[in-house]
Symmetry: D2
Subunit: 278 residues, 4 copies
Amino acid sequence: MKQYRVLIDANDEKGLVHKVSTIFYDFNLNILSNSEYVDKENNKFFMRSVVDGDVDLEELKSAIENILTQEATIKVVEPKKKNIILMVTKEMHALGDILIRHEAGELDANILAVVSNYEDLGSLVEKFGIEYKTISHENLSREEHEEKIIEYINSYENVDYIVLAKYMRILTPTFVKAFENEIINIHHSFLPAFIGANPYKQAHERGVKIIGATSHFVNNDLDEGPIIAQEVVHIDHSYSWRDMQRKGKDVEKIVLSRALKLALEDRIFVYQNKTVIF
Amino acid sequence: MKQYRVLIDANDEKGLVHKVSTIFYDFNLNILSNSEYVDKENNKFFMRSVVDGDVDLEELKSAIENILTQEATIKVVEPKKKNIILMVTKEMHALGDILIRHEAGELDANILAVVSNYEDLGSLVEKFGIEYKTISHENLSREEHEEKIIEYINSYENVDYIVLAKYMRILTPTFVKAFENEIINIHHSFLPAFIGANPYKQAHERGVKIIGATSHFVNNDLDEGPIIAQEVVHIDHSYSWRDMQRKGKDVEKIVLSRALKLALEDRIFVYQNKTVIF
Amino acid sequence: MKQYRVLIDANDEKGLVHKVSTIFYDFNLNILSNSEYVDKENNKFFMRSVVDGDVDLEELKSAIENILTQEATIKVVEPKKKNIILMVTKEMHALGDILIRHEAGELDANILAVVSNYEDLGSLVEKFGIEYKTISHENLSREEHEEKIIEYINSYENVDYIVLAKYMRILTPTFVKAFENEIINIHHSFLPAFIGANPYKQAHERGVKIIGATSHFVNNDLDEGPIIAQEVVHIDHSYSWRDMQRKGKDVEKIVLSRALKLALEDRIFVYQNKTVIF
Amino acid sequence: MKQYRVLIDANDEKGLVHKVSTIFYDFNLNILSNSEYVDKENNKFFMRSVVDGDVDLEELKSAIENILTQEATIKVVEPKKKNIILMVTKEMHALGDILIRHEAGELDANILAVVSNYEDLGSLVEKFGIEYKTISHENLSREEHEEKIIEYINSYENVDYIVLAKYMRILTPTFVKAFENEIINIHHSFLPAFIGANPYKQAHERGVKIIGATSHFVNNDLDEGPIIAQEVVHIDHSYSWRDMQRKGKDVEKIVLSRALKLALEDRIFVYQNKTVIF
């Protein structure tokens, strides 16, 4: 008996659950869990099922496609380790958290490599026997720099996700388009408050009583991609912006790892710059 | 077009979702939302669907019963205001919160009456045009006192839930059995810590850094019934137990109202002294 | 023995705690609690002491003034009920929460009156024997309308705070200036995200995973005043903006009451559009 | 200019703040921050001041001792890295979090060594150039095993704290007494709920909706020492106890690091099996 994850993203129409569950029944699949969401306003239907049995992935996918009277996005996968590449700059906390989870076997992923524009984090990454690739941006235009990174990433086959674990440079539309809905970022703020540079300074200036972090897919507009996970912590007047930053790091790493886990478990649908998460 | 809530609590077997969704299809019902949970360990299946269409409730229920090869608990209801009776002693915060929600039209319930063993809260309740019934326990055995309350409650038809909004007396098995899984309590503690009397004093004594509240159905063992909702707040050494109590009241009223809302929306299954909540 | 609260807001200089505590010692006052905060960047000193003993308030205040080599803001008060006026529009949840706390004796305040631009909430307020004053804005310019409200408020002596318990009109600089740092607002958003109208619609549009509420003093810029308290709750994709609004109400009322309590206990300093809270 | 932390734990008496601040004034020390707490019920006074200036530590301490009319516990220290030894068994998450913080320079501590009863975590620890000492308990009585550990710990001078980062064996009173209020543990539960073995199984059995973790000093009674920090996360019926355990790990590591940070910054007083934390 194997397990399969079936994800369907379609326009809503009557009988969808019936039709899909009939296919499962015909394929002799047992439903272990099932989540559905209908966005009435936009007439959208989302379904994620975990089933067990023994089928051919492509046959199952075709069968589902055939009973739908419309075009839909259908994904049928077996749970297995996904391939990820991390991108970092100089900060250690988010990267370190992912490395330890990976080492502990908590993370359902292979870390293919860590890419950075600085050498600083190389010695940490290499302790774990993971390739660290420095691609400096010095003397390069943004486009030239990214071209080199894309080339490096593409030297790996089957990269599922690129995780920006505090990569502090803005990506161009070209880069983003090359990996649509595959780039997961951690923004050091409770978006949409404090978009842009040094949100902790902005938060301190504004005198807020809560700070947070947001993990999201990256799209063309800086900090505007679909939100996956958010978390906050309480602070008070005694926090300097550096204290906020220190406290914020704990939130950042937890939120990024939470978002990554959701992606690795195929739990996220993206539509209209938002996420549906089961 | 009407809306219906369908709740199924059965032993798990292959094809249940298929069978039920076929019935929905045959009855020309559209699924608005659908939640399922399978407890593999105990081989239990839970499903809650919200559908719209136009059917006879009893016919739909029979049709579902007929396709199940086993005994199961099936509930088919239209969303409508449920009837509740509140029981209180002397504290105002939980009662007041429910009265205001009721007055604001936020609560999907008719408050039939408020029962207390003291007169104290009568003037508040009567401001809202709701019957307040004092049934003193003085000079009565626990059994005699409860008998009077049961008699009073039974003078109303169709009581859906009894809400203990800080009713500070322990109920006997007789009382509990008379309203199984229909009595919702708020316990002023994060159960199972600090079971029993004055949990805030116990919490202060122990020097905890978080206090909480728990809403649960009442069963025979004091504070041991199925938990519906819990919430906490952070405290520090400067809190006396009275400060904790004051701060705890906010948590208590929010948690009780949250649990009540879940019950009024038919979202709770009870089994093995636990809840499944969709 | 009486209790006094002493609040000092001054430029920082060496020996301030020593000097003030010497005064307390000379006046035979016992320190029950003491909080200090120094903002090094802006060279500001804040101190709040609760002391007991038996002194003349003015004499104590003068003595402290005399030992300071600079101008400072010094406040010496006995704990007693403050006078507040509530302003509302049509929503009941924040008002209701304050009314119940007042009725329960939880609130260290006298509610002098509730002012609204609509009649809707009058019947609720009058249940509690509190004056409800409707001042309609119809056929009036904003200035004319506010003039009437100011006139009404000024018909009461010694109003300590004006609490905007979901008063949905923007106040002019004239109004705000008349009651500087005395107007407490609840904003139905986690500021500075979603400033302005219908933040829940904005939040839904953006697909956030957390919503919140902010209580702040009102200044000339809409939603830009010094923040007193903030709180959040988690949501998911299944929430419509109306669901968010409903869930948000619980946060709003809790945060507003928390901020009001801090004000009533003389715990808030305001400077540079921020608060220091002890 | 140097910084000093002054901690005073004494019986309460009138004029203590005055007396201490006079000493600071006489020593030409500037108060940067100051926290006091009076436990009226037990007549206890706690004070933590951060001051800057240039003094002899012992002279300052003596001066404070001399003005107190009673015995008191006085601590005067310069902020500097403390020496810690970690004890672990087989789980990586809490240890890994501390190692990464240490590597990132976030932790104000030198990790002298990591001691374990198993070899499993040695390769991780040694990646970071930190000594890993396996002291197996096999074929040893509990006393013999602990004797070896104590001997090993005592081979280091000036150990400030022993951090049990998921050390899964119960310590004897002898061990605990040897390092009173110096052993920091992380308990994988929201104490005092679910004391003892496998709290996640207990929590699952009970059907709770929140799980948590508690960091505390270790005393003779298992899980009964003074609590330093606690945190919780929400769960639901779909969590198996292993899911709870997985989710709980994030809370455990955050809470342990938070408690350790408080200890390293000399912010914790212990009395009557509770903590006062500034």
